[in-house]
Amino acid sequence: MTTIIETKKKVRLEIDGKTVLAPEGATILEAARAVGVRIPTLCYHEALSPIGSCRVCVVEVEGVDRPATACNTQALDGMRVATRSERLFNLRREVIRMILAHHPLNCSPCPKNGDCELQDIAYEYDLAPNDFGSYSIKTEEYPWKEFSTPILDYHPRRCVLCGRCVKVCKEIRGLGAITMAGPGALASIQPALADPESPSRCVSCGECMRVCPVNAIEERMGGGKGKPWETEKTATTCAYCGVGCSLELNVVNGKVVGVTTDDATGVNKGRLCSKGRFGYAFIHSGERLSKPLIRNEKGELEETTWTKALTRVAREFRRSIAEHGPDSIAGLSSARCTNEENYLFQRFIRQAIGSNNVDHCARL
């Protein structure tokens, strides 16, 4: 028998007057969240280790002059932390103003409008476009830059240089296919190539797009437009490999326009591969069959009605059973269909046909 020994020590600190017992090694942000104190953040993402690039999460620690960034400062025993003050408000506002100087607040045509972390925080800190005209250090559009994969577009002007995308690719994908390069506010996200000749390491999973707080990384051949408030999300299970990732199909006007995930759900906890995230366009492919087909006398397949098609099938099955016995019929079920359909299919072959000639392509 193993006894689980609680090795983690606790630290006691005070945040906005509330006493917090946090495990040793926790950050101020984590400690604050544990007692329901909200500290605004931008570059921080729960699935990633702290980045500490945006300084939106600044707090005051008693006895320390310089405000500390809560997302990457360790909570220590005896600390007294203030998350709200006029000074902090102004500091945060300034940081966001700098970002907005760079990011066009042209929200109405943006598909992220209404579901954007930058927009939320600008709203919270009372910032509108005319508040930062004087900061406009980049008035011209950038030339469009090649990203690490041809299926994603990167928009440098929208990018808030938080670095989440670089982090997720390194930490979660274990790849490091992209990097931040260039001076200061003129930096941008670029493919990380050992040399210009080497192929991109990117596997087009779209994790970078998932964690981007704004709309700086976008599916180039997306399924269509849709604002968050008119998008219906249906939680389902991926149709491709046997891992069975959880995902949400985003539907606008009866059409699947994209795939999102929930960080807390399923075996994948928000992650997907390229098939799960981008493999939905087949649903509305013009090549889909929409009517039953039957082979005519000329030997061609032509459209027919359900009644005609199914009557023909039933007649042929009956005839084969009558003339050659039930084992003259075989059925191939599918490892892509649901349990319910597989169950019904084998029941059909065993009961209605009367044979065990039923299999699926598991062997292939």
Partner: protein, 527 residues
């Protein structure tokens, strides 16, 4: 899988073989990488190709294709010889140890090196690593099963896992990674010729009687049916006259498709239910348009036995129907009643027929997936199997001699072709190739060829090459790469323009009836 996906990160040693996990199961590959990078786990990759995970591996065993039983026996040889096996576990929980020990006795590292090409010192190091670790997890996929000796290789993995006490505990296990989303579920549901839903044998009278009672019939057939790989020859012999195919595309996915096409053309009546006019559907007498995955409700069961909900997000296209409705109509037209108002009602019947699903309900699935066995509504589901011992009493270790692949190379066909997938496409590409984003990433079939072979044949990177086997030929573009060893080429089966299964061998594993898709002898020429 005997164990769960999350448990992979709890192992001390992760052995992966016959799975290019990064391409086929990217989300699992991430877990492996993380565990290795954190320094918590050591990674052993046994694969003829230099797959992505080789980069992270502590050991890479590059066996010749089709020699899995030999290296596995070699590992066991060393473990037993050096007393690294788990005697207590074996005494308590297994049988057949003596026979196994006797069989592997002759598999010295030197002999194994001569069969597999794996240096004796590497084999020894890996044997020591596995033998001395507390928790080893074994992950494998079609790379070891798609051989004439596939069942043997799977049993050998199980032998090694039992020998080292790595079954029935957290963070260990024998873990096949299922390629298709619902292979596990299709098997659980009895879409198999010799087992009923829940895996009872069709020859088991009482199991048949129990199910017949639920279905309201007097009797059910007891003679085992034909597997997919036996159906096609049976058609050619005139024994099967009508074939009903739902959502599969054997005209591209099966070995030796020239032979399959002949069968599909010969069969008196072919009905295909699919969402696209696939290569198979194009040969049908009647084609029934099914609803796509986004248009129907139901459940899938993933590779770790977790049943999860599938939910309709949009209405079926045109006059398409979900597959269950089509089958239900056919039931009625054949003179039977099958009254289900929804997939949930079908699922509730499954719960009565398959004991391991009894406790899973749609309302419970609202809160997330549940892993079977889940015998009753209060049962939380089962993370790993065999915790309380094996179902059959004692775990059976089987002595397995190494047998060479069915098809060997010769002067005319000097190169071994092995097949697999890439992460941007799925199976025969019927869905993924209709997605522009995925198609642009991988628009055509690529033949991977080793630089030294390429040089000898005068092939440069990007050239078109002709590949032929004893069964057919295809042409595709070459990529010169160290991914494959000298004398081995690799390609995928996603592309109908370069249907690799024109070349593959339909020789079958005698037990599992899996064709030898992973090894066939070919000739490669420029042009």
């Amino acid at each position: 899988m005997t164990n769960s996906i999350a448990e992979i990160e709890e192992a001390d040693v992760i052995v992966i073989t016959g799975t290019n996990t990064t391409e086929n199961h990217p989300i699992i590959a991430q877990r492996i990488k993380r565990a290795v990078e954190r320094g918590d786990a050591r990674l052993v990759v046994a694969d003829p190709r230099r797959i992505d995970l080789v980069e992270q591996a502590n050991y890479w065993l590059r066996q010749k294709p089709g020699t899995d039983v030999a290296w596995l026996n070699g590992i066991m040889h060393w473990i037993i010889k050096n007393n690294l096996h788990n005697k207590e576990y074996i005494d308590e929980r297994c049988e057949g140890f003596e026979e196994l020990a006797q069989e592997v006795e002759s598999y010295t590292p030197e002999l194994v090196e001569s069969i597999t090409g794996i240096p004796a010192s590497d084999l020894i190091a890996v044997a020591e690593l596995i033998g001395k670790s507390d928790k080893t997890t074994f992950l494998y996929a079609m790379g070891i099963t798609q051989h004439v000796t596939g069942t043997d290789a799977v049993k050998s993995v199980a032998n090694l896992a039992m020998l080292t006490g790595n079954v029935g505990r957290r963070g260990t296990g024998v873990n096949p990674l299922r390629g298709q989303n619902n292979v596990q579920g299709a098997c659980d549901m009895g879409a198999l010729p010799s087992s009923l839903p829940g895996y009872a044998s069709v020859a088991d009278d009482s199991a048949r009687r129990k199910i017949a009672a639920v279905w309201g019939v007097d009797s059910l057939p007891s003679k085992p049916g034909l597997t997919v790989t036996e159906m096609m020859p049976a058609i050619l012999k005139g024994e099967i006259r009508a074939l009903y195919v739902m959502g599969e595309n054997p005209a591209l996915s099966d070995a030796n498709i020239t032979h399959i096409e002949e069968a599909l053309d010969k069969v008196d009546f072919l009905v295909v239910q699919d969402i696209f006019l696939t290569e198979t559907a194009a040969r049908a007498d009647v084609v029934l348009p099914g609803a796509s995955w986004a248009e129907k409700d139901g459940t899938f069961t993933n590779t770790e036995r977790r049943a999860q909900r599938v939910r309709a997000a949009v209405q079926p296209l045109g006059s398409c129907y979900p597959d269950w409705r089509i089958i239900q109509r056919l039931f009625q037209l054949m003179g039977f009643s099958a009254d289900y108002a929804s997939p949930e009602q079908i699922f509730n019947e499954i719960r009565r027929v398959v004991p391991s699903y009894a406790g899973i309900s749609y309302s419970r699935l609202e809160k997330g997936g549940i892993q079977w066995p889940c015998p009753d509504i209060d049962h939380p589901g089962t993370e790993f199997l065999h915790a309380e011992g094996f179902k059959r009493g004692k775990g059976l270790m089987t002595a397995i001699p190494y047998k060479p692949a069915a098809e060997l190379t010769d002067e005319k066909y000097p190169i071994i072709l092995t097949t697999g997938r890439i992460q941007y496409h799925y199976h025969t590409g019927t869905m993924t190739r209709k997605c522009p984003s995925l198609e642009i990433l991988a628009p055509e079939a690529i033949l991977e060829i080793n630089p030294s072979d390429a040089e000898r044949l005068g092939v440069s990177d990007g050239d078109m090459v002709k590949v032929s086997s004893r069964r057919g030929e295809i042409s595709l573009r070459a990529r010169v790469s160290g991914m494959v060893e000298k004398g081995v080429v690799f390609t995928t089966f996603h592309f109908s323009e370069a249907p690799v299964n024109r070349l593959t061998n339909d020789a079958l594993d005698p037990v599992a009836k899996i064709p030898e898709l992973k090894v066939c002898a070919v000739r490669v020429e420029k042009g």
